[in-house]
C-alpha cells in the first residue's frame, strides 16, 4: 500500500526538521507507544500498539533513518512484528520552507503488512491507516505549532 500527502505546518523548517528526526520527539506522536530504545541517532527500537478494529497487536519496530540530508530530506525504514503479523514501512519526507515561519512537508509511505492483520483486516486497512496518519499528523502539527517553551 502507498500513502502520500502534503502537510502545512506553521513552524520554521529547522524546528520541524529537528522534531521529526529526533526519535525521542517524533515518537511522542506515534500511536500508543509502549517503549522506546534509542540505539544511536539513526537507529531506534519502538514498541507500539496498533491494529485494525478488534485485531490489535503489539508491534516491536526496528527503525532506521537510511537517509538524513539536512535541512529537508529524510528516508526512514521501519520493520516490525506482532504475533502472527509483520509490518514493513518505508517513508520519505521532504521539507520546504514556505517562509521563515511556515513549512510544507511532502511525504510518502510504502507499507507492507503480512500475516493475520492483513488476512483478516485487509478491507479495513486503508481506513485504519488513514485514521492513524491523521492522528499522527495532527499531533505533529499541534506540537510544532504550540508556542515554544524554553
Amino acid at each position: 500500500m502507498r500513502f502520500e500527502g502534503t502537510l502545512d505546518i506553521a513552524a520554521p523548517r529547522d524546528r520541524v526538521w529537528s522534531f521529526l528526526t529526533d526519535p525521542k520527539q517524533v515518537t511522542t506522536c506515534a500511536p500508543d507507544v509502549q517503549s522506546l530504545d534509542v540505539t544511536d541517532p539513526r537507529h531506534f527500537k519502538v514498541v507500539v500498539r496498533a491494529g485494525v478494529g478488534p485485531i490489535k497487536g503489539t508491534f516491536s519496530m526496528n527503525v532506521e533513518f537510511t537517509e538524513l540530508v539536512e535541512p529537508g530530506h529524510a528516508i526512514v525504514l521501519a520493520r516490525g512484528q506482532a504475533p502472527g503479523s509483520a509490518v514493513e514501512l518505508r517513508s520519505t519526507m521532504d521539507l520546504a520552507a514556505l517562509d521563515g515561519t511556515r513549512t510544507t512537508m511532502k511525504w510518502a509511505s510504502d507499507v507492507t503488512v503480512s500475516g493475520m492483520i492483513q488476512q483478516v483486516g485487509a478491507r479495513l486497512m486503508q481506513g485504519a491507516a488513514d485514521k492513524i496518519t491523521q492522528q499522527v499528523f495532527s499531533c505533529i502539527k499541534a506540537k510544532l505549532e504550540a508556542p515554544v517553551t524554553a
Binding site: Q81, S114, A122
Partner: protein, 783 residues
C-alpha cells in the same frame, strides 16, 4: 428376505448415527489422558523470509511453558525434514528460511492449551523478508525468485510428465476441420473439514511404546511412515500403535503427514507425557495442504459434424513450496489422464509441469480421486466450447460421441481400461427427468424477453478405487486393502478393515456386504476400523477406494468363511458338500429345502462340533489387490437463472443421474451424492483461495472463504442407472467422489449457456456475482 438380513440393496439406517446424532462420537480432541500436555505452533507471517534469530526466552519464562522446539533443536535428531509421498521432502520446522505464510516456525509445549498459545505469542522471531513468487507461470520463468534453495536444481520446476501419442496428436490437429482451444484455471481450494487436524501422542518411556490418536484417513500407512522416519530414534513398527478414532470429515485433507503430528510425537518422546495438538480453524485453512490449482490449456480437434478426434492438454500445476501431494499413483499428475472422459478420442496427448511457489503444499485429492475433478471439468467444459463453435446442441454432441456400451471394456488413447459404461442411457434419463426439450423452449422464450437462463450438462467418467499395484504404491507398499471376519459361536460377527471411515458409513455398508454373503442380520455384525493393533493392514480411505478395494476384500473374506461353513453344514446335515447349496441365506441339501442349516447353527458348530480333521473356529482374512480401477459415471443437468442486476447465479434445478455399479445402501449413496453435489457447487460458485503479491493468503478464515450453507444449496434431484463393474466381486464401483467431480462443469456450462448468445465462451470458476456482473456490463445488458 433381503430386508430382514439388511443385505446389499437395503437402505439400512446408519449404525454409527446413533452415537453421532447424540453427540457421543469420540474424536481426537475428546481424548484426555492423565498428565497430558498441550502443543501449539508459532507460524510465519511472511511468505518467504530468512530467519535471523528466534528468541524463546520470554516464552520459556511463562509459568507452565515446559519447552519450545525450533528447527535447530530437530537437527541433531535428523527430524527437521520429513519425506513426502512425491519423492520430495518437507520441512518439519525451518532452520533458516520460511517458504510460505503460516508455515510452522516453532512449537510450544505447556501444561494448558491457553498457556501454550501465550507461549507462541511470546516467541520473538527476527525475519529478513525475501522476494515472493505466488504465480506458478511466473515461477517457471527464467530469473524467477527461487523457492527451494535446498535443491540441487536451481529453478522452480519440479517435474515434467507426459502421456499419449504426441506426434499422432499433433498430426490429427494439423489435419482437423475444427479446432477449439480454451484456457481453464481450476482454482486452489481447501477441504475445510469441520474437524480440524490433530493428534494425541503418548510415549511410554518404560516399554518404548508409542500410541497416537490421530485424524488420519490411513492409520496403517502412517504407522509404517513413523517407523521409517523415526526408526533411528528407536520407534520400531511393532511398538507403534496408531488409532484413528471418529473423524469429522477428511476429503483427502487427512491423508498427508503435517509437521504438527511429528512435533506432537517428538514432544511426547521428549517429555514422557502425552501431548495433544489440535489445529484451530485458521491454521487448518492456511497451512494444511490445498487442492487443485491447475492452469490448463486444452484443445480439441473434431470434424465439422462434431465427431471428436483428438485432445491435447498442457498444464502448469502449482504444488506450493513442497511437492507433498497426497498422490500414491505412479504418475505425478495422478489420474489426470482420465481427461478423455466419456469420449473415444483416437489420439490424445497430455503434459503437465509441476512448479514450486511460496504457498503451502498443494495437491490434496479433495474428494476427487487424484486430479479427476480437474480432468472431468476440463473435458466437459471443452465439449461445450466445441458445441458453441459448431453450433450444435451440447446434449446432441455428447450423444453423438459417447463411447458406445458395446465398446467396453474400452481402452482409452491414454491407456486406461474402462471397465463398463452406458453413457447414453444416463444422459437420456437425466434429459427426461429435467424435461430438456421443454427447458430449451423456455430458454428461447426467456431470451427473447431479455432474461438470462442457462442449461448445463456434464457427462463425466470417473476413475476410482486405488488401486491395482501396477498403478499405485505408497513407499513401495501396494495399494491392496483388507478385511478380517470373525464369526463368533453365537452367530454374531466382528469385521475389521484396513480402511477408515470419515463419515461415509462403513459400519453399515461393510456389515451389509457380510450380511449378504453370510446370511447374518446386519444388526449382528460389528465393524471396526482405525486401530492398527487390531485391524488388518490396509492403505486407508480416499479416492473412493473403500468399496472398490476393501469392499472386494470383505466379499471375498466372507466367501472364504462360507466355503468353510459349507463343509460344516454338510457335516451337520450328514450330506456330501457337493450336495449342499447356499440358497435363501441358508445351506440346504439340494432339492430338500426342509434339510437346511443357518449360518448361526453352523457358527455354533464351528466351535462345538466341528468335523474331525478341520480347524475349529470360523474366521477369514483377505487382502484384495484389485485387477483394475473402477469407472463410475453420470450425467448431470443444471438449470440456472442469472440476475441481470446483481450478476448472481441461482441454481434453479439440478438433476444428477449417477451410475456407481451395484449399490450396497441406496440411502447412503444418495447422501454421498447430496454431499458431493454441494461440494461441487462450492468451487463452481463460491470457493477459492487466492494470495496477494506478498503471499498473504486471502481467504484464510470462514469470513473470507465462502463455504455454501443451506441457504445456497438447491434441492438436488437424484436418479440412477446401474452398470455393474465386471471385475469387482459384488459389481460395485464406489460413489464417494462422483458428484464432486461431475457437478462443477454442469454449473459452469449452465452459466456460459445463459450468456452464450452474448458471445461468452468460458468463465473461470468460481463464477462470482462480481465476475458475471462485469461481463453483463461489458455486453451492455446489466440492469
Amino acid at each position: 428376505m433381503a430386508t430382514e438380513i439388511g443385505g446389499i440393496g437395503s437402505s439400512v439406517k446408519r449404525k454409527e448415527d446413533a452415537r453421532f446424532i447424540r453427540g457421543r462420537g469420540n474424536y481426537v480432541d475428546d481424548v484426555k489422558l492423565p498428565g497430558m500436555l498441550y502443543l501449539d505452533i508459532a507460524r510465519s507471517p511472511y511468505a518467504h523470509a530468512r530467519i535471523k534469530n528466534i528468541d524463546t526466552s520470554k516464552a520459556l519464562a511463562i509459568p507452565g511453558v515446559l519447552a519450545v522446539i525450533t528447527g535447530k533443536d530437530l537437527v541433531p535428531l535428523k527430524l527437521e525434514w520429513m519425506p513426502t509421498l512425491m519423492s520430495d521432502r518437507q520441512m518439519v520446522l525451518p532452520t533458516d528460511t520460511v517458504l510460505y505464510q503460516a508455515q510452522e516456525v516453532a512449537a510450544v509445549v505447556a501444561t494448558e492449551r491457553y498457556i501454550a498459545a501465550d507461549g507462541v505469542a511470546a516467541i520473538e522471531v527476527e525475519y529478513e523478508p525475501l522476494p515472493v513468487v505466488v504465480d506458478p507461470i511466473k515461477a517457471l520463468q527464467p530469473g524467477a525468485t527461487l523457492v527451494r534453495e535446498d535443491r540441487e536444481q536451481k529453478d522452480n520446476h519440479i517435474w515434467h510428465w507426459e502421456v499419449g501419442d504426441k506426434a499422432g496428436t499433433d498430426k490429427a490437429f494439423k489435419d482437423a476441420e475444427v479446432v477449439v482451444k480454451q484456457d481453464i484455471y481450476i482454482p486452489r481450494i481447501h477441504v475445510s473439514s469441520i474437524e480440524t487436524c490433530g493428534m494425541v501422542a503418548s510415549f511410554d518411556k518404560i516399554n518404548g511404546k508409542l500410541t497416537v490418536w490421530m485424524t488420519t484417513q490411513a492409520p496403517h500407512a502412517i504407522r509404517t511412515v513413523i517407523a521409517l522416519v523415526a526408526g533411528h530414534l528407536g520407534l520400531s513398527e511393532e511398538r507403534i500403535r496408531v488409532i484413528s478414532p471418529d473423524i469429522g470429515g477428511g476429503f483427502g485433507g487427512k491423508v498427508p503427514v503435517y509437521p504438527g503430528y511429528v512435533l506432537a510425537i517428538g514432544a511426547s518422546v521428549l517429555t514422557g507425557h502425552p501431548v495433544k495438538w489440535i489445529e484451530d480453524r485458521s491454521e487448518n485453512i492456511q497451512a494444511d495442504s490445498f487442492a487443485r490449482d491447475y492452469h490448463i490449456t486444452a484443445e480439441l480437434a473434431a470434424k465439422k459434424d462434431g465427431t471428436m478426434q483428438a485432445l491435447r492438454v498442457k498444464t502448469v500445476a502449482d504444488h506450493g513450496a513442497f511437492d507433498a501431494a497426497a498422490n500414491p499413483s505412479k504418475y505425478p499428475a495422478g489420474l489426470f489422464h482420465i481427461i478423455t472422459g466419456s469420449y473415444p478420442f483416437a489420439k490424445s496427448f497430455v503434459e503437465v509441469d509441476g512448479a514450486y511457489t511460496n504457498k503451502p503444499p498443494g495437491g490434496i485429492a479433495y474428494r476427487c480421486s487424484f486430479r479427476v475433478t480437474e480432468a472431468a471439468f476440463t473435458i466437459e467444459r471443452l465439449v461445450d466450447v466445441l458445441a458453441l463453435e459448431i453450433k450444435k446442441d451440447p446434449a446432441e454432441l455428447r450423444m453423438q460421441n459417447f463411447i458406445p456400451p458395446t465398446a467396453f471394456p474400452y481402452t482409452s488413447s491414454l491407456g486406461w481400461e474402462y471397465d463398463s459404461g452406458d453413457y447414453g442411457r444416463a444422459l437420456r434419463l437425466a434429459m427426461e427427468k429435467i424435461d430438456y426439450a421443454g427447458l430449451r423452449k423456455e430458454q428461447a422464450q426467456k431470451r427473447a424477453k431479455g432474461e438470462l437462463m442457462g442449461i448445463g450438462i456434464s457427462s463425466f467418467t470417473e476413475i476410482v478405487g486405488a488401486g491395482p499395484s501396477k498403478h499405485f504404491d505408497i513407499l513401495g507398499i501396494k495399494m491392496f486393502d483388507s478385511c478380517e471376519i470373525r464369526v463368533h459361536p453365537t452367530g454374531k460377527a466382528m469385521v475389521r478393515l484396513g480402511v477408515k471411515s470419515q463419515g461415509q458409513g462403513h459400519e453399515t455398508t461393510f456389515a451389509q456386504i457380510v450380511a449378504e454373503e453370510l446370511g447374518l442380520p446386519v444388526g449382528d455384525i460389528a465393524v471396526e476400523e482405525g486401530d492398527t493393533d487390531t485391524a488388518p493392514y490396509g492403505l486407508g480411505t480416499y479416492a473412493s477406494r473403500s468399496t472398490p478395494v476393501a469392499g472386494g476384500a470383505t466379499a471375498i473374506a466372507a466367501r472364504k468363511i462360507r466355503e468353510k461353513a459349507k463343509l460344516i453344514a454338510a457335516h451337520l446335515l450328514e450330506a456330501s458338500p457337493d450336495d449342499i447349496e447356499w440358497k435363501d441365506y441358508k445351506f440346504q441339501v439340494k432339492g430338500v429345502p426342509a434339510k437346511s442349516k443357518t449360518m448361526q447353527e453352523v457358527a455354533f458348530a464351528a466351535y462345538t462340533n466341528h468335523p474331525q480333521g478341520m480347524e475349529a473356529g470360523l474366521e477369514a482374512v483377505d487382502y484384495y489387490d484389485p485387477p483394475n480401477l473402477t469407472f463410475p459415471f453420470g450425467s448431470y443437468i443444471c438449470v440456472v437463472d442469472i440476475d441481470r442486476g446483481t450478476g448472481e447465479v441461482k441454481v434453479r434445478r439440478f438433476v444428477a443421474v449417477d451410475d456407481c455399479g451395484v449399490i450396497i445402501n441406496p440411502m447412503i449413496v444418495e447422501g454421498q451424492i447430496h454431499g458431493g453435489l454441494t461440494m461441487g457447487l462450492a468451487p463452481a460458485l463460491y470457493e477459492q483461495i487466492t494470495y496477494d503479491d506478498d503471499g498473504n493468503i486471502q481467504g484464510g478464515n470462514f469470513m473470507d472463504y465462502l463455504l455454501p450453507t443451506a441457504m445456497e444449496v438447491p434441492s438436488w434431484e437424484t436418479a440412477k442407472t446401474t452398470t455393474p463393474s465386471p471385475h469387482h466381486p459384488i459389481g460395485a464401483k464406489g460413489v464417494g467422489e462422483s458428484a464432486t467431480v461431475g457437478a462443477p462443469a454442469a454449473i459452469a456450462n449452465a452459466v456460459v449457456d445463459a450468456l452464450a448468445h452474448l458471445g461468452v465462451r468460458h468463465i473461470d470458476i468460481p463464477i462470482t456475482p462480481w465476475k458475471v456482473q462485469k461481463i453483463l456490463k461489458e455486453k451492455g445488458v446489466a440492469e
